[in-house]
Each structure stands twice: as structure tokens, then as C-alpha cells.
Amino acid sequence: MATLVSHPDEVRVISKRFGQGATDIDRYLQLDGYKAVQKALAVEPDAITNEVKNSGLRGRGGAGFSTGMKWSFVPKQSAKPKYVLCNGDESEPGTCKDRLIFEHDPHSVIEGVMIAALAVGSNTGYIYIRGEYRYLSVIMQKALKDAYAKGFLGKNIFGSGRDLDIYWHGGAGAYEVGEESALMESLEGKRGIPRIRPPFPAVVGLWGGPTVINNAETLAAVPHIILGGADWYAKLGTPKNGGTRLFCLAGNLNKPGVYELPMGYNLKKMIYEVGGGISNGRSLKAVVPGGSSTPVLLPEEIDIAMDFDSVAKAGSMLGSGGVVVLDDTACIVKFALRTMKFYRHESCGWCIPCREGTDWLEKTLTRFHAGAGTKRDIDNIYYLAENMLGKTFCPLGDAAAMPTMAFVKKFRKEFEDHLDGNPCPFEKAGAAEPVLA
């Protein structure tokens, strides 16, 4: 069980039931549970969607698309059944927030799926949880069973005359499945090979039916929005970025942990105050602001608001909320290599630029970190990455390319320090042999 932390600047919405025993359905009910869905049952579906739209809630999985907008793309009439799919395949390196939601407040996710289903006119939802999170699947399966036992799910929910089923589903180890079209393939019992879009899932999704796919944190926010109102939620954040989000502070910090902060919270403050500053008395070298696929920021670039638009303006992305902090003892080439090793491992090989690009980049970076690189390699790394951008079915190729290009652009000098047989300047003499052979 992951340790919980707290900071006075936190605004607890998603995390307000953490540590409160809310996995127990009766406790959840005491803490305002399943009130939002009853409120939603009393209004027109469009009113729910509008409320979510007006709240400024944007996808917490990383893309930051307006949740209400996404729901509004689902056709009203459909010959095929409509579905709601909760993406709990959390696997972007640096991200460990959905895990806490499932662990402490599984019913909030169920309730979020229910409200989404009411908004788009669906009778079936799925909650997909990554295979490694087995203990969370146990929690979720029990939570669903309890919700059925109370009559909140199944036939005629809350006596409304509406039927609604929600099922658990589990993965078996695959980062790429966190991408929405690959997620659907996985749920259909296949390899997680991405689908080409259009058509978008909102029109043609699971088994060909219109499908809303939202991140677990996004859905967990929905009941709070319905109960507290769009205005209240929107005002917690910045004008185009409503609410709060869970930020996973990781890396060389004194107080790493998952903190819920308002959208737009200053990154510098997040690192030095919330995260307690750089550990071991070291100084800051770089920050990866939103999971491993987001371009790195330099210390002089971190005085920014952590919302989707401000981070984009700074040349990176807010992503999945995983803030990874590097101190001055970290080797950027090694870090870039580890990042690329991950993407090479996770690339499904369907799109050639990603399959070949990640493989060549890992090989080049390995050679480079070992001191066998040449000056030409530096440009070649950038060039290989650049040629993956926008050339793949799913964003995995981009996710591998974007951080790599930023590492080369912002830390060229450090790459040059590894040239011509020079050993990595950051490896301590007599350190263990490199893992990445």
C-alpha cells in the first residue's frame, strides 16, 4: 500500500476520501457517495454533459481534451450499443495516481462511469485496470459486487427504470494499451495494436459501437462536479483548466508523493515547497513535467503554471501529472537511454517509424553512453527522433521522439562530454557495471 502525504496547499477533491475507508460501500455512502448519480438521474442527459463541459474538466490521462466535449461527440441514436470505458491502464513512467484512486476510492470511479453512461445513453461500462495492479482489481471487483448488491447497478437502478451494468476488466502488461484504440483492442481480447482514426471511438469504438473512453482520474472527478456544480469546480483551477489534479512528484525530491493541487499551480513551488526541494542538498538539473513522454524543462523554465496550456507554451506538456525531478548528479544521456529503452520495449512494431526508430535510438544511445559515440551521432539521434514524429498510428512514436529531441536540444554539451571514448562523467569510479547492456 502506497504511503499518503499531505501539504497545506492541497485542495482535496479527488483525494478527499483517501485514507477514509471509502472502499467500504457504506462508508462511501456516508461520505456523500452515490448522491451525484442520483442527481444525474433526475436531469436530462444533455444537462449532465453541459455541466461537465462548463466545469472545464480536461482528460487527466495526458491529452487534456475537454471531457464534456468528448461525451458530446457520441451520437444520440445508434444501432449498436454504446459503451463507457474507464482507462485504468496507468503506465506512463512517472505516473502513480490512478493507483491511489482505485486503492482508496474505487466507488468514485464506478460512480463516474455511471454518470458518463447516463450522459451518453449507454447501458454498459467497463473499468480496465492494468495487470500489475492485481490488488486493485480485487478491490474493484468487490466494489462492483457491493454496488450490485445495493441495487445501484443492474436492472432498474435506483428505481429509475434504467438498466446499467459495469464490469471490471484486466490487462496483462502493456504500456501501449493505455492508448485508447489499443485499449479497446485489448478489451476485445487481442494484441493492443492501435486503430487508425477517424473514425474516432465516440462513433466507432468497442465492438463497433460508440464508446466514451476516459481516464480513471477524469471519471473520478465527475461525481464531484455534479454535486458541487460546474462553477465551483471550474473556479478551483485556471480559466481553461478546471479543477484540481493529482500530481505525482517523483525523482530526487525530499518529499516525493502524490499531491492534489489546483490546476495552474506553479511548478517551481511544487518542486521546492510541496516536494520539499531537491534531496541530499543537491541542486536541480531538469524536470520532466508530465510523464516520460513530455519534453524536459530546464531550471530556468520551471516558473510556470501547471495547466495544459501554460506547459504547452513552455514547450512541453502537462501530460499525465507525473513530475520527475532530476538533480545535478543525474546523467541526461543515461536518462534519455532509459527512456528510450522503455519505448523500444513497449513499441508493438505495427508502425515502422516507431519500431525501427526506437530500436536504433536505443542502440545509438547505448553506444553513446558507453563512450563510443561520435559527434555525428548527436545529430543522428535528433534526426531519428524527428522522423518518428507524427508518422505513427498511435502516439507512442511521438512519446519516444519528443523527449529525445528535447534532451539533445537542451543538453547538447552533456552529450558532447560523452564523446570519443570518454567514460560517462557521471558514473562513479568503481560503480556497478551498466544494467543496460
Binding site: A2, T3, P81, E90, S91, E92, P93, G94, T95, C96, D98, R99, Y126, R130, G131, E132, Y133, R134, Y135, D165, Y167, H169, G170, G171, A172, G173, A174, Y175, S186, E188, G189, K190, R191, G192, W207, C248, L249, A250, G251, N252, P256, V258, V288, S292, G322, V324, V325, L326, D327, F335, R338, T339, F342, H345, E346, C348, A432, E433, P434, V435
Partner: protein, 160 residues
């Protein structure tokens, strides 16, 4: 071939959750692996038959997912994360330590069949790095000393 009653009950229920039988495949494979230890030929044939798939289709799916394996593993699969957040806090050193302590490399198994070792990708414990999963159990904020203790605990578990 018969699995545990719990498996059979879950499997039967899961089939009612989807419009196609195949959809139950991925989670079912993992639950089957948990019982048998690996994706044996027998398991593959059995699940293919139950879900109206060819064995090749099942093998295709197995090869995509990193948790599924067609080779037997040790009783305790020690999965050390060395991805970025863990790397910055000693994940690689921890992996080296495990290699030395267990005397096996990546995807190796000790001769007594007790431990397997794996260097894995991000397991979602970034704020509590470095982290390890032994089978499904998370162990976080580790040091070499804590790791030694942990391995001993697993070893002793078997003797009691």
C-alpha cells in the same frame, strides 16, 4: 483441464460480460498463468478451445503482453523497476544487488526454483521509488538492506 473453482466461477461470469467470447481472453490468460505458473501448451489449447480461438491466435496475444510467459518462473518473481523515477533513486543498483544476491540475471530462475528475477518497466510506484513487485506484492522505498531482508522473508515463508 480444470482450474480452481474460483477461476471457473470467475471465467463463467466473465463470459456474460461481453458480446464476444474472445473478449475474456486477456484477464483469463493472467488468471490461468497464476494457477499453472506459466502459459503451458495445455493451458493454451484449453483456453483456445473455450474461447473459440485457434491456438495461434492465443499465442499471438500472449506474446504481446509482458506479464505472460511460456516459460516456468520461480515461486517468487522479483520484478525490479529501473525506469526513470526508480533509476533516479537507485533502481539499477537494486537490480544489481538482486542479481548478485540471487546469482541469476534478467529473466533467470534460481536452481531451487524459488526465485526469478526480472528488470521491469514502470510499475506505478514512482513517488515511492525505488520499487519492486514480488509476484503481485508491491515493496517500495527500498534500499539494498531492505531488499536483503525482503528476500530472506520470502525464503523463510516457504520453510513455515
Amino acid at each position: 483441464m480444470r482450474f480452481s473453482d474460483e477461476f471457473e466461477a470467475r471465467f463463467a461470469e466473465m463470459l456474460t460480460h461481453y458480446p464476444t467470447r474472445r473478449s475474456a481472453l486477456v484477464p483469463t490468460l493472467l488468471y490461468a498463468q497464476d494457477e499453472v505458473g506459466f502459459m503451458s501448451d495445455e493451458v493454451i489449447a484449453e483456453l483456445a478451445q473455450r474461447l473459440d480461438l485457434t491456438e495461434l491466435e492465443v499465442r499471438n496475444v500472449i506474446s504481446y503482453y509482458s506479464m505472460l510467459t511460456t516459460k516456468p518462473r520461480g515461486k517468487y518473481n522479483v520484478q525490479v523497476c529501473t525506469n526513470i523515477a526508480c533509476q533516479l533513486r537507485g533502481g539499477e543498483e537494486l537490480f544489481h544487488y538482486c542479481r548478485k544476491r540471487l546469482g541469476i540475471g534478467h529473466k533467470g530462475t534460481t536452481p531451487d526454483g524459488l526465485f526469478s528475477l526480472e528488470e521491469v518497466e514502470c510499475i506505478g510506484a514512482c513517488s515511492w521509488a525505488p520499487a519492486v513487485q514480488v509476484n503481485y506484492d508491491f515493496h517500495e522505498n527500498l534500499t539494498n538492506g531492505k531488499m536483503e531482508q525482503l528476500l530472506d522473508e520470502y525464503k523463510n515463508k516457504l520453510n513455515h
